[in-house]
Symmetry: C2
Subunit: 196 residues, 2 copies
């Protein structure tokens, strides 16, 4: 992640240090102890500098997630609905367990207290993730694996909803069996519609 290329603008290096520190602190301590002070200290950057770039603590975390998701989650080539969806869900579980769980829990909690941030989170994170899953479903429609009558928005709500629900409530794990079970039940839904 660290780029030491000579001539890189100083502020970008500092911004990267802030994001790196935020990411590390979330992984080490979870979201409940995260503060601008702690990040500033770890990143060796002044608090006013941080506030110049980000309107709130949650916006730093959102940037970390967007950047990490961009580098960590590869674009999936469509094979069959089952294979592609399974791969998408495996990646999502892995990212959540490996590095993103504390980040996402922090973001959704903050979004409930700050309506402007909720919009930024929805537009920059949720709608982007939805569009990836919707495009998988749309490709399956084009190949006749899902009926054109299927409500894809509801299907997308079910998948992302159940993942958020497990992450937030914690009654069951975000693991590879869950990825498999979600794939299986989606295939069950789409098969019924296509043969009805």
């Amino acid at each position: 992640m660290e780029n030491t290329k000579i001539g890189r603008p100083r502020c970008e290096k500092a911004q990267q240090a802030v994001m790196k520190a935020t990411h590390e602190l979330l992984n080490e301590k979870g979201g409940s102890g995260l503060t601008i002070e702690g990040i500033a200290k770890r990143a060796k950057v002044g608090k006013p500098t941080i506030y110049r770039w980000w309107p709130s603590l949650a916006d730093i975390v959102l940037d970390v997630v967007l950047r990490q998701a961009g580098t960590d989650i590869p674009v999936i080539k469509f094979e069959s609905l089952e294979k592609t969806l399974h791969e998408f869900l495996r990646q999502s579980m892995k990212a959540t367990v490996d590095w993103g769980g504390a980040h996402l829990r922090f973001l959704i909690a903050h979004a409930q207290k700050d309506e402007d941030f909720r919009k930024r989170f929805r537009n920059n994170f949720s709608l982007t993730r939805r569009s990836v899953l919707l495009s998988i479903f749309q490709q399956a429609v084009e190949r006749g694996e899902i009926s054109p009558e299927q409500n894809l928005e509801i299907l997308t709500d079910l998948i992302f909803g159940s993942m958020w629900y497990r992450l937030l409530i914690g009654h069951a794990p975000m693991d590879m069996s869950f990825a498999e079970e979600l794939t299986e039940i989606t295939i069950q839904i789409t098969k019924n519609k296509s043969t009805s």
Copy 2:
């Protein structure tokens, strides 16, 4: 809600005043401005008295939700899976829109910052709600409307998950069409399994 029966212990009256104040303030202003100070003022009760009964602000809100859900959401008599599930979902949407949305958003946000509270929320609210939906599904299994092979836990995750997801992200409404669409897709899932 107010009970003026003579001889009722004084502390129970004060507890009810605290819960009533909390409920009103959440409906008027949402969760972001809710404080123990505000509740104490509205309920005409001292802050130390409140802290004697509840370990945190979120625990008052949880008590309000549990009490309200207990009186507001009637037990549903099982007819068919479709009718019973539809009624369950209509009631859940109605309770969320009419009075519970701000309460639930406040609770889930707090649960992300306080692991002990998260357990209390999970055990007292989520698992209770899950058991109601699971019992509807189990009755449908007994009547042959759902295959005994169907994974009911995943089905429950899909339903509650998608409702939480819409409530928290806010990309689409919690309305009666949503209750209908969720019923329809659940029937689609169960039909496929029972005929396969």
